[in-house]
């Protein structure tokens, strides 16, 4: 389960529409879409928004991995559902689950389609310190390497007769020490090697490096942003009007319990 999630939130090399957008655009999409999801207050509208988003993703060629990873969080959904349906209402529980799902989705799209370096570069361009921004992209870069290493360690310990899922809950937790210790020590060693290599490649000489490829907002970035902003504004206006009972949306209240 855990590995699938890392896949979902890790960069995927592909050429989709979302990949070609500027990271800053995608950051704003998260903000706008997040607002949209929070503003829409009833189940059916939210469901429609969600379906709309999913269909856009599938059309643009993202999909399988995304949904696979998000569904592997079912435990969290269940938790949200139980707590909220108990404390509040069934309706709210469903709404919260859908909101959570939507947030996961939009973040997953962001991380899957944004090259970590583009992310850090855009952070640097909006004046976040180079060190911090680079650390972020470095962390993403080594996710696949670490996943590979984890697998190797598991295999090595298994071939020494170690059984990871033997014994009670407490014992099972202890069984992970033979995995964790080599992994941690290996990571520290790797960190040293990476630091050495960084030193010899001039890292940190300048506060702000030059960029060979500068990130630039293109026409489609502006187009996407203005479309989405328009939708969000319309939805907000509709919500307000509807709250003041100035208009009625046909499907609302028919279904809400």
């Amino acid at each position: 389960m855990s590995l699938k999630i890392t896949q979902t939130f890790n960069f995927m090399k592909k050429t989709t529409f979302f990949h070609s957008l500027d990271p800053r655009t995608k950051g704003l999409i998260i903000l706008l879409y997040g607002t949209l999801v929070m503003v829409v207050g009833d189940l059916l509208s939210l469901l429609m928004v969600t379906m709309f988003a999913i269909s856009i993703m599938i059309l643009s060629g993202l999909g399988t991995k995304l949904i696979e990873g998000i569904q592997s969080l079912w435990l969290i959904y269940l938790l949200i559902f139980i707590i909220n349906s108990y404390m509040q209402s069934l309706n709210l529980a469903f709404i919260l689950i859908l909101r959570f799902f939507n947030f996961m989705m939009v973040f997953a799209v962001f991380f899957q389609t944004t090259m970590p370096e583009d992310l850090s570069q855009s952070l640097i361009q909006i004046h976040i310190p180079y060190n911090m921004a680079f650390t972020l992209s470095l962390a993403f870069r080594f996710i696949p390497t670490m996943a590979q290493e984890t697998e190797n360690i598991i295999e090595a310990q298994k071939s020494r007769g170690h059984q990871f899922n033997k014994g009670g809950l407490f014992q099972q937790a202890r069984n992970f020490f033979p995995l964790l210790i080599p992994l941690i020590i290996g990571s520290i060693r790797r960190a040293f090697h990476v630091a050495e290599a960084l030193e010899t490649r001039g890292f940190g000489v300048l506060k702000k490096p030059t960029f060979y490829r500068k990130l630039q907002m293109k026409r489609k970035d502006w187009l996407v942003l203005s479309c989405l902003t328009l939708i969000v504004v319309i939805v907000i206006v509709l919500e307000i009007l509807q709250k003041q009972n100035q208009i009625s949306i046909p499907w609302k209240y028919n279904l809400s319990i």
Partner: protein, 649 residues
Amino acid sequence: MISTSTILNPIECQDFSFIYKTSKQLALNKINIIIEPKKFYLLAGPTGSGKTSLIRAINGLIPHFYHGRFFGYVKIKGIDSIDSSPAQLSKHVGTVFQNPENQLFSMSVERELTFALENLGYSRQHISAQINKAIKLTKIENLLNRSPYELSGGEQQRVAIASILALNPEIIVLDEPLSSLDPLTASDIMHLLVQLQQDEGKTIIISEHRLEYVLNAVDEIIVINEGKLQSKEPTFTLLKQDVLYRLGIDIPVLLHWFYSHQDTDNNEKENKKEEQQKISAIPITQTEQLEYLRKYCQNQLKLLNDQVIEKQNQFLINELPSKIEERGQNIRKNSFSRTEPILSIENLSFSYEGSIKKSDKGFFLTDIIKKLKDKKKKKNSLKSFNNINSIDLPVLQNNSTQFFTGEIVGIVGKNGAGKSTFVRCITNLLSNFSGNIYLDGKNTKYLEIHQITQKIGLIFQNPDHQLFSNTVEAELQFSLKNLPLSTAEREKRIDETLKLLEIDQFKNMSPFSLSGGQKKKIALASILCRNPDIIIFDEPTIGQDAKEKQKLQDIIIDACSKDKTIIVISHDLEFLIQIATRIIVFDQGQIIADDHPNFIFQDHYLLKKCHLKPPAFSSLYAQLRQEFPQLPSNILSIEQLERFFKSCR
């Protein structure tokens, strides 16, 4: 040759000593070296001799990253390394580290190349010109849009070299860059380095264990041991001296034979002067070696009757490797009493795609999307041919073979041919294979992994992936904990294993305080103490020096004489020639050959497929046979030739 006063030498060390902050011993002790421009140097020495420290001193990591006490001075292009930072020095010195994976930090190759230039604040025009030059030199045009982490080891090393060439440094230092590469890829990288030296006038310093890869290319050899400079001489001069042979450095097998052979020849002469002469008679160049062997053969053949030789033409067909022959008949008997295989593999196939499908069951949305995608894929199958190729091709295809008690089987094939997957399927670490594997007559599908690993011990390349205890003893206890043994028996096993590997003095030490070679031995002990019937080694010789390799051979042969089955995955042809009774060749997921080493390793077509190079001896031997047609055709190593003459007497 070049007077030192007129031209600024790339590197000058004077009375340079260094003590790491964390240790009390001198890591480097009074080093005096002058590195001349445009030359190719080899830095040789046993593990822990100070090679890496010297490289760190050259690129400025000592004293700026690794702190400690610093004596004397190191000057890089006239700049004192104390006054400069590694970043500033990077314009003059480019460093390639042992593990390319850790020095590639980007998600695309192009960014990797621009990284250093961007950091130093160059303009875009300059960056563009520089990286284009680096790309051309290293011929990585086709890799530009890929991610460094998905490249093969050789490609990664090429990108690493390109990324330092982008800064156009005059000096390139490489710290064991070939250790994880197969022989053919290693020689490609060496070829590239020679080209950089000759065409671009770079000064290159390389440290490497296996001298075989580098001897042809380097101009001079720097030998260090225990932090001290032992000698610095032109290659040919040094090979005629005693130093390299004494230090247990991994010298080409042939040279080693010439060296030891002279020892036995002139046993009576004990005069020191004669000793020196004797060493200087070691044939180095190919013509010298051929001349030497010609004389050797003439002498031997004079003693022998031609008729005997005719008879001996069938020599080696039922022959065992030289190493085993010495150990007597016990093994010989075993390996020919082939009654029941201990491990039998039938129609083994495996693909990663298949394993994903299985785990996907039960979720309809994913399935629907996948089906839609599959349809799309079929439509675009021609377009995205490359993509599909790497994902959908089965890693293993319909392989059947059998292993018998007392065999030592070598598995060869280039990286990605399916060797590791094959071994992982045998031990059930990968369980979604199709086909059947019978271990001692039982189908492994119905066994748990821990039951299988009681009989099959798999020893991985990297000991760091398994060591985690406080002491070596605890490490072995961990390996034994699931076996039905009494406490006394465990103690006994641990002591026995440690003694066998000659590491009993480390019993109460932390495995993390040991050197790489010693860690490797402990990883080996952690499997050996479980006393499995089948022992599988994954690339056991990587990074090992001559002595360690020798020891490993002894251990393998010893285990074999105790009725074990040994399987060795390796690129080390010379190592396999000495011990293997059988070789299995993998190519594109299939076993394409399975035979006696002397047949496999003579087939140049097969060797090329496995990214191996024919043994150095074989080209010499081919020439010898033109002169002495009575010699048998299928001899692979000088030891075999020696043994052949012996058997004729």
